[in-house]
């Protein structure tokens, strides 16, 4: 057991997998000599050499195409797209090529690759460097989508992603890079498609992802003190989605609240509400509610950004109000 930052967990996870499997290679902008703009790939070039850790030009389409072509011919690439907003410049390779080619070719090709990216807001980077876009990926058939909330999960889920035979979009929460958590020693391998119940309660189930998880937990503590005892589920993986755990926990409390960093419309929360409404309608004591960023681009100024992204206070007040009515 050691305390590790989320950022260092990323590099430990990559190192663990590169150590294990020589076919794992890493590519992206400034990831090598510079150790990454988020310092999440520090030391990897030194350890694994320039053939396996490759700095690229600013050519996101070529980066992901390179990963795709390499994955279909025997390598297991890990590609970095620096900020998740930049998926917009290479979305064709993700959504039309990587995601669809296994299906189109009736399984002739497969894509054991991971695309990792710094996702979401909280760092005052403004509208073009802050959007949480995991729902973009979730909307595309053929992609697995993972978004860990803590250092131990970063390592375990990353290892599972690298070992998975399908393309995995690995969203690292930019706002969490500096946060720390306990991480067991030795090799960690987790399982994709498993949500985690972080807190058990009786009154409401709060379902959160990535940077929203610590906020959901903090809110649950305050709510508990005020007499609302909540379950907190960390979704961890949007595809595959652990609906069993979520439905079970929502049915048990009769209320669901999602906490989502994405702008309001068409997020993973909407999908969950729909699933819950369809599959445990009769267990619901009240409407499933979503707590999200409003449907706006993110502002830069700190007071405004803090107001936009779901805060502990907003989670508390929304749930309190809903449970009282």
């Amino acid at each position: 057991m050691a305390e590790l930052s989320y950022r260092d967990a990323v590099s430990r996870a990559i190192a663990q997998e590169m150590d294990r499997d020589p076919s794992v290679v890493l590519l992206g902008e400034d990831i090598g000599a510079a150790g990454g703009v988020f310092k999440a790939t520090v030391g990897l070039l030194e350890r694994f050499g320039p053939e396996r850790v490759r700095d690229t030009p600013i050519s996101e389409q070529a980066i992901l195409g390179a990963a795709m072509g390499a994955a279909m011919t025997g390598l297991r690439p890990i590609a970095e797209i620096m900020f998740a907003d930049f998926f917009a410049v290479c979305w064709d390779i993700v959504a039309n090529q990587i995601a669809k080619s296994s299906y189109m070719t009736a399984g002739q090709v497969s894509f054991p690759l991971v695309i990792r990216s710094g996702n979401g807001g909280g760092l005052r980077f403004g509208a073009q460097h802050s959007q949480a876009v995991e729902n973009w990926a979730m909307a595309i058939p053929g992609l697995k989508v993972v978004a860990p909330s803590n250092p131990a999960d970063v390592i375990g889920l990353f290892a599972a992603a690298v070992r998975d035979p399908d393309p995995v979009m690995f969203f690292e929460a930019k706002g969490l890079y500096a946060t720390k958590g306990e991480v067991p020693d030795g090799e960690l391998v987790d399982t994709l498609g498993t949500a985690k119940v972080l807190r058990s309660g009786t009154d409401a189930t709060i379902v959160a992802l990535a940077a929203m998880v610590p906020r959901a937990l903090a809110a649950a503590e305050v709510l508990a003190a005020r007499g609302i005892d909540s379950t907190v589920v960390d979704v961890r993986s949007l595809v595959p989605l652990d609906t069993q755990t979520i439905l079970r926990e929502v049915s048990a409390t009769g209320r669901m609240f999602t906490v989502e960093e994405n702008p309001r419309l068409c997020g993973w929360g909407a999908e969950l509400v729909s699933i819950v409404a369809e599959e445990c309608f009769d267990d619901l004591d009240g409407p499933p509610l979503r707590i999200t960023t409003p449907h706006i681009p993110l502002p830069s100024a700190d007071a405004l950004e803090d107001l936009a992204i779901p805060s502990v206070e907003r989670i508390i007040s929304t749930i309190e109000r809903a449970m009282q009515s």
Binding site: V25, G69, T73, G107, G142
Partner: protein, 353 residues
């Protein structure tokens, strides 16, 4: 087919192209290779003519894009490539797929949406893939596969595997961002990849010269990536073959990528729905007189190949096409269970538990 003349034997160059700019690769092509090139072209031509008939009968659904008139390019690479090399094709990929030895039945079945199709009907005409024969896919969004081809080349180089990746694309593709990113990265990483631009003068219906800042949409960009400028007669199978060998060898020996601009002409419409009315008559006529198969047959005859030998190739191709058509038409549509297969590499499609 016209009689051999000296003009044809040493191809006079494609209509409208200054012969001075044409790449004249060294070496010569031996007789068996020439026959192989002829055979490839004829098979492509006859296959696609049949496919076109089937469209007209409304048996091929969706869209489809023929290489009629452009066969020398795919044929040359089909003959020049090593068995394990990688082909990356576009929606206009029938010829490039057949060139690698994929069965006509598999391709025809795919066009017809039958279970004997190389993709069991799931991909259709635009996505032909046959990994066993190095056909790593046909991609229908302009530009993307150039990036993917460089990835396969990177992988081969990294694994110490002597394979070369070849990506075919059109003139119109030279104006999209992915072209630029691919050429640069392939050059910087000195990857074993050959980029083959089939300049057929048109994107879909728009003449390439009206939307491109330079005369030679690929070759005039080569220097932007530190590469040689290569314009080759894409209707001369020998010139194409020798150029292909040259570039494949360069790639295989660590010399990095090449960018070839092959001048050719699509004698059919862009796709199924296109009557090609935007093409000037004289242009069509000039290129009709410069058909790669006519040219080549004349040249082989001039070189002393027997007419009977060539006829035999033609007849075999005819009967192969006929067999493939019958087999494909006899094949059932894909099983409905296939709908939910192959999203994941475990064969399934489930996104939840």
């Amino acid at each position: 087919m016209s009689a051999p003349t000296d003009d044809i034997t040493v191809a006079k160059g494609p209509p409208g192209v200054d012969p001075a700019i044409l790449h004249r690769p060294g070496g010569s092509v031996d007789a068996p290779t020439q026959l192989a090139l002829y055979r490839q072209m004829v098979r492509m031509r006859k296959f696609e003519k049949r496919a076109y008939d089937l469209f007209l009968q409304n048996l091929v659904k969706g869209t489809s894009h023929l290489s009629l008139g452009q066969e020398a390019i795919a044929a040359a690479f089909g003959v020049a490539m090593d068995e394990k090399d990688y082909t990356f094709a576009t929606y206009r990929g029938h010829a490039h797929t057949l060139a690698r030895g994929t069965s006509m039945t598999g391709v025809m079945g795919e066009l017809l949406g039958r279970s004997c199709g190389v993709l069991s009907g799931k991909g259709g005409s635009m996505h032909l893939t046959d990994v066993k024969r190095g056909v790593m896919g046909s991609y229908a969004i302009v530009g993307a596969h150039l990036t993917i081809a460089l990835g396969a080349a990177w992988s081969a180089k990294h694994r110490g595997d002597p394979r070369v990746a070849v990506a075919f694309f059109g003139d119109g593709t030279t104006n999209i961002g992915a072209f630029h990113e691919s050429l640069n990265l392939a050059a910087v990483w000195k990857l074993p990849v050959v980029f083959v631009c089939e300049n057929n003068l048109y994107m879909e219906y728009t003449p390439i010269r009206t939307v491109t800042a330079v005369d030679n949409p690929a070759a005039d960009r080569a220097s932007a990536y530190g590469l040689d400028s290569i314009v080759v007669d894409g209707n001369d199978a020998d010139a194409m073959y020798l150029t292909a060998r040259e570039c494949l060898e360069r790639a295989r020996s660590g010399g990095g990528p090449s960018l070839i601009e092959a001048r050719t002409y699509r004698t059919s419409g862009h796709s199924r729905a296109d009557p090609g009315k935007y093409k000037p008559e004289e242009e069509v006529a000039a290129w009709a007189a410069y058909d790669p198969i006519d040219l080549y047959r004349a040249r082989l005859l001039a070189h002393g190949v027997g007419e009977a030998d060539l006829d035999a190739v033609d007849e075999t191709a005819d009967s192969d096409v006929q067999t493939a058509t019958v087999e494909a038409q006899a094949s059932p549509p894909p099983g409905l269970d296939l709908l939910m297969h192959h999203v994941w590499s475990d064969g399934g499609s489930s996104w939840r538990n």
